[in-house]
Symmetry: C3
Subunit: 147 residues, 3 copies
């Protein structure tokens, strides 16, 4: 059994920018050479999120933003904003709601996902950011399985 | 330390059908013979979810559906629906919100849950489906513990 | 690779009491002596939650409570309440929405979190409770890494 910790870096636009990180996660899996196990993802930052979605423009550019704007609207006088002279209270609430931790299984070196299911990083902050997602691969290398 | 990947298959009705999968997960744990560790659950499909709830009819047949209908109503002209001639935009939003990844600990061969806490699979799609949940058991077998 | 199961006990006030458990989780990590891996957290109880937030009074005492009161208000005649003569239907809905399972990575014996990101336990029940969060540390001890 192996454990490999790595990370991916992202440049994001904020305002619920939704990025498909499936290719980077699959590439990192290829690089570490594991066959069977799962990858634990953790997004650094209290205005971020990790989830899955069918990554198509209607959902990621419109429908998700409309729903989240209803649940935690950006332009509301949050206590957080008043206390800190800040403007991202909604970003924090969305992060706690969606969560920053996720795990995805893999077998035969391939992530196991539904046909229309992609892994997404969400940046809820109110301006462009440089972000980091920690990836931890747990599982068996080919040599462990063949033993 | 061991890793065993397996899965369970479910027939669901859609429209936020909520299924108690605790018995199947416990049965799979019994079958793999592990004593201490956790099971990582991952629901395949971008209109599914995994969470926990007190599995009683009031909550699963009424209250959860009413809440989710408020957060992401089914009969709304989503951009997703317009683009793809589809009718399940709400199903996708609910999936991203609830999440498809969950982990539950176990000790002495038994899942550790609260007294009134069950593991649920949620199908948010708008018609009956055949579904798969990947289960990955990580941990120690009895022989490892006795060593 | 090691697996250590432990737990922390909490006294909470209910009504979406939000507790910063980062110090206890870091202390438990120190106690188990692991260097690299992740901690899997699981909150026992169907009216609890685990997530992350910037732990400052504006968000935890006001903004989160206001948002959740909009999503799943406490004083509504839930079917759960009618069936069981109970008053905590909202507590259950919030728990399913936020989730009770979370994982946080660590390296060099330190939890990896964003600068303003803390791990929180949320008690959604309607009265004070004694609670337990299961912690499972998976990873390598110093001796494994130096090998």
């Amino acid at each position: 059994m192996e454990l490999i910790t790595t990370s991916i870096d992202l440049s994001t636009q904020g305002h619920t920018d939704i990025v498909d990180i499936t290719p980077q996660v699959q590439q990192a899996l290829n690089d570490c050479g594991m066959e069977e196990g799962f990858v634990q993802l953790f997004a650094l930052g209290s205005t971020t999120g990790i989830s899955t979605i069918e990554y198509e423009p209607g959902l990621v550019q419109t429908d998700m933003k409309v729903m989240l704007e209803k649940l935690a609207p950006y332009n509301v006088p949050y206590q957080h904003n008043k206390t800190w002279g800040d403007n991202n209270g909604a970003s924090h609430l969305r992060s706690t709601l969606i969560g920053t931790s996720y795990a995805v299984p893999f077998q035969e070196g391939e992530l196991i996902l539904g046909t229309w299911q992609q892994i997404i990083f969400l940046d809820f902050d109110t301006h462009p950011r440089q972000r980091k997602v920690v990836l931890q691969f747990f599982g068996k290398k080919k040599s462990d399985i063949n033993r």
